[in-house]
Structure formats: structure tokens, C-alpha cells
Amino acid sequence: MEDRRLNRRDFLKLTSLGAAAALAPKAEAALRAAIKPLVANGPHPGDNGGGAHRWVMVIDLARCDGCGECTKACSAMHLVPPGQEWIKVYNIEHEGLAASHFFPRPCMQCDNPPCVNVCPVGASYKRSDGIVLIDQEVCIGCRFCMAACPYSARYFNWAEPPHTARELSQSYSVETNIPHRKGVVEKCLFCPALTSKGELPACVTGCPMGAIYFGDENENAVTNSLGETLSLSDFLHDGAAHRHLEELGTEPRVWYLPPRTQSTSTQSQPSAVLLSGLEG
């Protein structure tokens, strides 16, 4: 009895040693493959990087009249399932005051994205061009990202989305999220399919007021639907731009100019705006 137990122990030791020796090179490769997901927000297999761009959006709230054309253009472009508004125009009320302003909310494409941080399978990922994308072929539908996103920018396909022949004819890409699928999360993508062709995102083109500007941080230029191209840094500075819920530290790539600003041209000085506000 005693002998048999010792033998078995020795046998186990020997076999495990032998197996370890035989598998060492393979184990190293497997380990490297396994450790890859441990790299914080590391490159995703579907990441083509989007080139050397760093996409950024500026929304001039003073120009937004809440018409909702951006949402319509977006939904038409992405065949967004009903019930979702990838760019949603909020009517924000100021408590205790009879005042409100419109607030278009796309995905903020945060540089410190809470959604990407909590994703258990790496389906949500941050691209080198600043865009946060979702791989719907990996997403397990746990909706942790939705709980984590402070901007309510993420939507879930609770049921099978209604399909059209046109939608189904396209082959799936993380850059389009088409065809839409049941049980996975979707959101605004910053239209990588359009920007890669040098075009503006659908909501930017669709805005009749020219309130949404889009461009490349590296080129320091943003453009709106009216063809106005402005220097990003001057624009943000002069307009006293802010990012929504800045205090949370999510570092959004979407900037907002305050709703009271009367002019968005680079000539308008913040002091002049302030003065006119005081006089008015």
C-alpha cells in the first residue's frame, strides 16, 4: 500500500516534469498568446489603426437648434436599429430656472474609456486613431460597458433587430457594425467607413446649422457641414470649450462650446462674449 502510493507520486512527478520539458516552447507561445489580452487596451486584432489620425469632434451648442437632423442622418447611414440614437439630442434643463439648451451626445470616444476598461472579453477596444469600437463577433452581451459609460452612449440589441435586404447584403465589419445583431452592444463609431475616404461623419454632414465640427487633432483643424474649417486649438480656446463630465476623468474626444456663445468664428473674443452677455 505504502509502496504503491510512493510509486504513484513519483510517477506523477516524472510525467509532469517530462510534459513540461516537451511542452516548454509551446507553453511559451501559449503564454504569450494568453498574456496579450493582459496588455491594457492593447491592439485589437481588428485594429487597422486608422492611419496617423487622431479624430476629434467639436459641438457648438450655441448653434444647435435641436432639430435632430444629425440623429436622422446617423440612423440612415448606419441603419441604426429602432429605439437607438447613436447621436442623441438632449434638451437639458437647468434646475430652478426656466432655461434649457440642446445637447447632442455622440459617443465621446474617451481616451480613458470606462467601457473599454471593464469589457471582460476585449470586444470594446480603443483604436490608435482615438476611436472606441465594438467587435460584435466577440461581444458576449454582459452590458457591463453600458453600466460603466457615464454618457449613456451605448445601446443593446434586446431583440433581433429588423433587417433589410440592403443591410444583410453587407459583410460584417467592426467599422460599420452592419448587419446588426441580437444580444450585443452598439454605439456611435465616428463613421470610420467615411473618414477613411476623406469624408465627414454622417451627423456632421447632416447638421444644417453647422454646429458639429470634425477633424484631426494632429492636423489641428476641424470642419463643419458649411465648409468652415477652423484651427482646432484657437477654436477651443476662444470658445471656452469644455468636455462633458470632465471631472470623471474619462478624457472625451468630443469638445463642447458653451450654449451662450453668439458667434463661433475665430474672431469672437471670449471677453467680448462676456461683455455682451453682461450688457444684454
Partner: protein
């Protein structure tokens, strides 16, 4: 019918009659399966089957079959998850802490507690999978899992805890498995096979006893940090987000305290049910209830402390993003549920647990008990008056605040009187009183999870002027799955208690029961109607 079932599944009065007195007292439920047991199993299986049907519906229709939507994107499943994992904590607590501190009174109840852990973990771990939009992809969690995500921490800690607590349940079962292997020779083949495999060649030699003891000590030390870790990372699912109401540094200990309190309370419920059902009065005595009540009370007070810490620090400031969530809890949509859990689920149980442990207050006995007719009349008066007030308030526009104050004072006086006259009744009946308190705590535990999950999701950071709070109404699918999971949990627990003795035979054999019976630390009045063999 019963005879056929008995033949297939396992009754043997023949073997049972050969047992000694001690074994007979504990092994009847294992050796003799009767009609009551089969009917209970059938009933629970029916509810469980309904849960399976509800899940199949959800698989077909997607999560659209639930009441969850984009704003409230987590619901009953996540609540059940936190609840079951919380209940599961008690096995580790009782077996490990009491073993390490050498408290011998634990022996008759440790297996009950460990079985709760095992069964609750099974269904707790199932809940997030049921919640997935793409359950068929759940293995992505393993093959492309990101260790940075709290969900991975949950998977690692819960699977470790499940493995550890199964071992912890199994180790002290080995001698009893051997006993069943040797004495239950007419058991059906499948049960004989289980007993043979799981007794691991146990013959009861001193060497085997020494090894078992060492293994159990090791497990007792190992399981404690795992148990604490499990509920901490469960809470971190919430605390790692930026959401007001979840974004809290005390969520780890807050959840651990709540989990332990609810788990210990659920053991009290199990004790009273098994004691009655399996006639275990000899083993589970008033003393055990008293000790467990002290434990539940301690944990409940700790949980009250964490509640105060969590809510008062935020409520004092009442500002920023937390304001909307707190307002919905304190005076808004969830106020009824919130105050009910705080008062009925935390504070009232604390008093109930204390009452039978203190001296009877003779002056209270002099208070006149209100006759039932008067009670009914006053209740009807209050109900009618409150209806009338709301009617006046709605249709005539008269200010009800003074009336409300009068109602509050009247209600307090009336309720206070009724409560005071209840005290002698409760003091004379310690076990029922403890059980009421435990039941309130367990119900509170589930409702509290609801309070933690849903109101926070109903208050997003950005709200539209037209936003009136996203109402979450669970559908029959969610309730069905919840009921099915509860039934499944009870089913596993019940069957476990019929496969092996729910009170350890070998650990209670060597006179530990008698040993623990030596005088209670504090004198307790001998209550009427409660037989307590140790006094």
C-alpha cells in the same frame, strides 16, 4: 408508486433497523425516503421546470423578453447573483471561523451551512450567464478574457470558491460516506457507487483521522480569504464604475457584511426547518439558536453600521450626481422599499434578536394587551382616514401636512403600544422570534440588492428634460427564472440532505453535543412550549 420510487431511488428500512441509536437519530432521512419527500421534490422540480421554460423563452426572444432596457440594463438576474453569492458566504464563515476558534457547538450545523454555500454558489454563478445577451459565447470569457475586467475577477474568485467550498463540504463527509457505504448495503446501485467513490477508502484508522484533520485545518485557513475576496469583487462590479451610488470605496466591506448577515440568517432558517422536518431537536438545541442569533445580530449590526456610513456621508452633502439617486431612495420612487428594508429588514430584526436574550421585563406584562377587535377597529380607522385624506388632498386641494403629523404621532403611539404588549410573547418564544428576525433579514437581503442595483441605473448622468425616470418592471420571464433558481437551490439543498446526513454523524458521535451542552453563558428563562434538552 412510492414503493417503486423507493426501490429505484433508495429506501431501506431493513438497513435502517440495524443502525445504533445515534445513527438512527440522524440517518432516517437518508435511509427512508417517503411520500412527503417525493412530493416536495416534484413540486420544486415543477417550479424549476417553469424557470427553464422561461429561460427558453428568453433564448428565443432575446433579452427583450425581460423588463431591462438601455437605461436600466441590469435587473433581477444581477440582483439574484449578488443575493445568492451573499447567502453562500455562511458556509465558510461558520465552518472556518468556528473551527479555527475551536467552538465545538458548531458540529451539528456546519454541514447545513456548507451545503447552503454549495447550492447557493451553483445558482449564483448561473445568474450572470442567464443575463448574457450571447450565452453561447460565454467561453470568450476564458479564451479572450481580459484580466483587467472585474468580471474576470468574479469568475476567478467564484470558481475558486466553488471548488474550495465543495472540498470543504466533502472532507468532513468522508467518514459519513464510509458509514453509508458500510451500513446502507441495500441502497440502489447508483447510491452505493456514490458512497463508495466519495468515501475514498476511508477505514477510520488514526492516520486517516490525523490527515483529515490536517486537511480540514488547511482548508479552514484557505477558504476565509477566498470568501472575503468573492464578495468584495462582486461589489466591485458596481464600485468600479463611475455611477453615483456605486462609485464608493466602502462597497467591498459593505457587501461582505451584508452577505455574511444574510448567510447566517439563512442558516437559522435551515436549522429550524431541518430540526422540525428531520426531528433533530436532540442535536439542534436552543443553545445553537442562541449562539447563531448572537452571530446574526453581530453581523446585522455591522451591516447597519455600513448602511449608515454609506448613506449618511452622501446624504449630508446631498449634492452632485448622488442627489438624484438619494432623493429617489429617501423620498422618491423607491422610498417605500428603502425605508422598509432599513427599518423592517435591519433595525427590527436587531431588536427581535436581542429580546429573547435579555431578562423578561416584568413591567411590560402589566400593560393591557389590546383586544383584537379594538386592533382591527383602529387599523380600519387609520386606513379609512388615510384614504379620505388622499381624497381631500387630490380633489379639494387641502393641505394634509397637519393631518399627516397627527397620523404619524397616532400611528407611533398605537404601534408602540401594540409592540410593547408583543414583547413578553416574543421573549417567551426565543426560537420563533429568532426565526422571524432571520426571515426578515433574508428578505431584506434580496430587496436591498434591488435597492442597490436598480435606482442607480434609473438615474443616468445625462437626463433629458422629458426624462421621468426609467421604470424597470421585471417580466414574468425574469420572475419565472428567479423562482426557478430559488426552487433549484432548495431542490439541491433538499436532495443533498437526503443523500447524506445533514448533521454530521461522526463529528457528533464523540460526545461533543454533551460537551457543548454545559451551561449557557447567560441565563435564559425556560420558555414555555420550547423543549430544550440541555437545560
Amino acid at each position: 408508486m412510492t414503493a417503486l420510487l423507493a426501490k429505484l431511488l433508495g429506501s431501506s428500512t431493513e438497513d435502517f433497523d440495524k443502525l445504533n441509536t445515534h445513527e438512527k437519530a440522524l440517518l432516517r432521512p437518508v435511509f427512508v425516503w417517503g411520500r412527503g419527500f417525493y412530493l416536495t421534490v416534484a413540486f420544486l422540480a415543477l417550479i424549476f421546470g417553469f424557470g427553464v421554460f422561461a429561460y427558453l423563452t428568453q433564448l428565443r426572444d432575446g433579452l427583450a423578453a425581460t423588463g431591462m432596457r438601455d437605461t436600466v440594463s441590469w435587473g433581477l438576474y444581477i440582483i439574484n447573483f449578488v443575493f445568492f453569492i451573499g447567502i453562500s458566504h455562511v458556509g465558510a464563515l461558520l465552518s472556518s471561523i468556528l473551527r479555527l476558534t475551536g467552538a465545538k457547538w458548531r458540529h451539528p450545523i456546519t454541514r447545513m451551512a456548507e451545503s447552503i454555500t454549495f447550492a447557493a454558489l451553483l445558482f449564483g454563478a448561473l445568474m450572470p450567464i442567464i443575463d448574457l445577451g450571447r450565452p453561447e459565447r460565454m467561453f470568450n470569457l476564458i479564451f479572450s478574457g481580459r484580466i483587467q475586467s472585474p468580471i474576470l475577477w468574479d469568475i476567478i474568485s467564484i470558481t475558486t470558491y466553488l471548488a474550495g467550498s465543495s472540498l470543504f463540504l466533502l472532507l468532513p463527509l468522508i467518514p459519513d460516506m464510509a458509514l453509508l457505504r458500510d451500513k446502507f448495503i441495500h441502497a440502489p446501485a447508483w447510491r452505493r457507487w456514490i458512497y463508495r467513490i466519495l468515501s475514498f477508502g476511508w477505514t477510520g484508522t488514526p492516520e486517516q483521522h490525523a490527515r483529515l484533520d490536517r486537511a480540514m485545518n488547511t482548508m479552514a485557513v484557505l477558504i476565509l480569504p477566498i470568501a472575503v475576496m468573492v464578495h468584495t469583487v462582486v461589489s466591485w462590479i458596481f464600485a468600479m464604475t463611475l455611477r453615483p451610488g456605486w462609485n464608493s470605496t466602502i462597497f467591498g466591506p459593505y457587501f461582505v457584511a451584508g452577505a455574511l448577515a444574510s448567510g447566517a440568517a439563512s442558516v437559522v432558517l435551515a436549522m429550524v426547518v431541518f430540526r422540525k422536518m428531520y426531528r433533530l431537536e436532540e442535536f439542534i438545541t436552543l443553545k445553537h439558536f442562541k449562539y447563531m442569533a448572537a452571530l446574526v445580530l453581530t453581523l446585522n449590526l455591522a451591516y447597519i453600521y455600513f448602511n449608515i456610513s454609506e448613506y449618511v456621508t452622501l446624504a449630508y452633502k446631498m449634492e452632485g450626481a448622488e442627489k438624484a439617486v438619494l432623493a429617489s431612495l429617501f423620498s422618491g420612487q423607491f422610498a417605500g422599499l428603502f425605508w422598509m428594508t432599513q427599518v423592517l429588514g435591519l433595525i427590527v430584526p436587531a431588536f427581535l434578536l436581542v429580546l429573547p436574550m435579555i431578562k423578561p421585563m416584568t413591567w411590560i406584562k402589566r400593560l393591557r394587551v389590546l383586544p383584537p377587535m379594538l386592533l382591527a377597529a383602529i387599523s380600519a380607522l387609520f386606513l379609512g382616514a388615510s384614504l379620505a385624506t388622499s381624497f381631500f388632498n387630490t380633489f379639494i386641494g387641502f393641505d394634509p401636512s397637519l393631518v399627516a403629523l397627527a397620523f404619524l404621532l397616532g400611528g407611533l403611539a398605537f404601534g408602540g403600544w401594540a409592540t410593547l404588549t408583543l414583547i413578553p410573547w416574543l421573549q417567551a418564544r426565543p426560537i420563533p422570534t429568532f426565526v422571524i428576525a432571520a426571515a426578515l433579514i433574508v428578505i431584506q437581503a434580496w430587496l436591498k440588492r434591488f435597492i442597490i442595483v436598480v435606482p442607480v441605473l434609473e438615474q443616468p448622468f445625462i437626463t433629458d428634460a422629458a426624462f421621468e425616470g426609467a421604470l424597470y418592471n421585471p417580466t414574468w420571464v425574469e420572475w419565472g427564472i428567479t423562482a426557478g433558481a430559488l426552487a433549484g437551490f432548495l431542490l439541491v439543498y433538499l436532495i443533498l440532505s437526503r443523500m447524506v446526513p445533514i448533521v454530521s454523524v461522526w463529528e457528533t458521535k464523540h460526545g461533543e453535543v454533551e460537551e457543548t451542552v454545559s451551561g449557557p453563558a447567560h441565563a435564559l428563562p425556560q420558555p414555555a412550549g420550547v423543549s430544550s434538552p440541555e437545560v
